[in-house]
Amino acid sequence: MNTTKKEGFDLAMMKGLKKWRLYSLLAVLTIFLSGCGEEYLSTLTPAGQVGKEQFNLLLLSTGIMAIVIVVVLIIYVLAIVKFRRSKVGENVIPKQVEGSMTLEIIWTVIPILLLIVLAIPTVAYTYKHADVSGMTAVDAEGNKEAVTVNVTAKLYWWEFEYPDLGIVTSQELVVPTNEKVYFNLKAADVKHSFWIPTAGGKMDTNVENVNQFYLTFDKESAGLKDGVFYGKCAELCGPSHALMDFKVKTIDRKDFDVWAETMKTTEHVAQGELATSGEEIFTTSCIACHATSGAGTAGGVGPNLATFGDRNRVAGFMDLTEENVKNWINDPESHKPGNLMPQPEEINNGEKFSEEQLDALAEYLMGLSVEK
Amino acid sequence: MSHDAHVYSKSQTEYEYTRRVRREAMRGQVTTFAIMIFLTLIAFSAVAAGFSEYFIVPILLLLAAIQVVLQLYYFMHMSEKNHGMAAFFLYSGAILGFTLFLTFLTIVWWN
């Protein structure tokens, strides 16, 4: 929060406002605003440079708007108090004033000035936040410097491909901290929108083109309540739009490299009898849609499950418990209306999975991990 | 309506005068038409002749614009008085339409 205050201050300085009066206003606002919302979800607790800059813009604009509102309210209250008919007398005919040139000029010029103050950082940030030129930068050996993630939004889940690392995951985005992470965004079916409130504003995933932008993550997610930041789909995309959540794990660059490496190399082996029988069912019924290896490219029909055991949600929104995994497999439709995972009857010869089969599948799936 | 104009009969000279004015105006219209045909011919033959695209497209648009102005001002009498509001709204519409062109040519894109 200290940095936020400082940046709010810098911004104000930069634009040469009545410095410290605005500063104190902004400070108060900051404290007030960050009072609400959850740390892992709120735009008011930004955890990355883009989010912070947008938060500064929020503070600056709120400050300006507060000035406007106060001015209006003062005139308004005075007018109502002073000029009630009960005060001025029942039969008074007020002077029929036509208008005032001076006043007109004042209330044209002052708003224009206020807007200019807002417009300058707006335009500057607009260009800054759209600058993805660093995406293609390479180091001396010709390796890409920055992490690029290809995000594909699908009904109702997210696929994250790391093209330069040759790995793919889903539902849970893993990114290194303190550097720019670039995103290529697109949708596979209908339009969605990719939003990590704490990291910065959203970008739509369109069906006919690839959008690009970047975010930075300054804070490791390990200390958060669930150990992750929340991500959201922000464009209405069908019945389960509300449930199209994803999670973001931010780790430092060293850990990230380790993670990427294990993703590429880990071949999963089922541990124990139950899990092995689960694997069997899985390879007959599920493997057609779900990959279990982290190496690969985008284009899965269903989420890649290589890191399933490391996640903290099932299907993006239910707590990761054995119970929920079973419930999900047993009846995806009732949990996430309209989603594209078939009901068990469709993949299990017209029958529901038995309790044992579900147990086995759950055991197997919970064991899928690259971190443990 | 209660306040319509009164029937007013022109005198013979007045009448003949207006007829003559109209006839001349009609001749003007035929000239306009000839110009329009001529412009169309230029446009089509320019394309048939196969000049370069960058040369031809502006010319085509210019020719079209001239034709439209001729239609509006002569055939549709926008040059006559009493068309102020009509012109105002038509041009507003045209300007908006132009903005639409610009937009659709710039910020609708392809994969």
Binding site: - | M1, D4, A5, H6, V7, Y8, S9, K10, Q12, Y15, T18, R19, R22, A25, M26, Q29, V30, F33, M36, I37, T40, A43, F44, V47, A48, E53, I56, V57, L60, L61, L63, A64, Q67, V68, Q71, L72, F75, M76, N82, H83, M85, A86, F89, L90, S92, G93, A94, L96, G97, F98, L100, F101, T103, F104, L105, V108, W110
Partner: protein
């Protein structure tokens, strides 16, 4: 003064379409309508430009290969001429020459029908080539833009024919003069749109 007042060429007002309040309203309202139509067609044109030559991968049709200029040229000439004939009709209306007006409008109608037949022929031809409405975004946009114009022609024809028949026995009045006048405005507007169609769709399409 009444709608039913009979006029002589001498007493016939200079702007018979704008003498009554109803006429004035119709006149202005129609121009406003045309202003709205301008935006409507602009939207169609803009969409057409955005979707021109766009289709499923491997689409074989393009503006360069599809369009045939001679036919379009003939259509253009016909429509332009019909604009002139309707100017003649209005000329006769001002001169209080009812027969003249009806005759010229009838010629306009015939030209309009000829135009429409050629357009139908053209569409039919494309469909036979396989360039159907649902073939690609390009085909959809093309048929919608040009077809909307064609629909306007058809409506204009219906309107003028109705006027011709309706008033054949009645002659001029201040009641129908504005109707004739606005119908002719409409017809010119159709021509204006066509100027853009033959320029933007056909000529610029063939060029590239």
């Amino acid at each position: 003064m009444d709608f039913n007042t009979k006029y002589t060429p001498q007493s016939w007002p200079d702007h018979p379409e704008q003498v009554t309040l109803e006429g004035k309203n119709k006149f202005l309202g129609f121009w406003l309508f045309l202003a709205g139509e301008t935006v409507l067609f602009s939207s169609l044109f803009a969409t057409y430009l955005a979707l021109k030559n766009k289709g499923p991968s491997g689409m074989e049709f393009s503006t360069q290969t599809l369009f045939e200029l001679p036919l379009v040229f003939v259509m253009t000439m016909i429509l332009l001429t019909s604009s002139l004939t309707s100017v003649y009709a209005m000329y006769h209306m001002k001169n209080h020459n009812f027969k003249g007006m009806q005759t010229w409008l009838a010629i306009t109608v015939i030209l309009g029908i000829a135009f429409l037949c050629l357009e139908i022929y053209e569409f039919n031809h494309y469909v036979h080539l396989g360039f159907t409405y649902g073939q690609s975004a390009f085909s959809t946009a093309f048929f919608t833009l040009v077809g909307t114009h064609g629909l306007h022609v058809a409506i204009g024809l219906g309107w003028i024919i109705l006027l011709l028949i309706r008033n054949a026995k009645r002659g001029f009045s201040l009641y129908n003069a504005p109707k004739y006048y606005t119908a002719s405005l409409y017809w010119h507007f159709i021509d204006v749109v066509w100027v853009f169609i033959f320029t933007v769709v056909y000529l610029m399409g063939v060029v590239g």
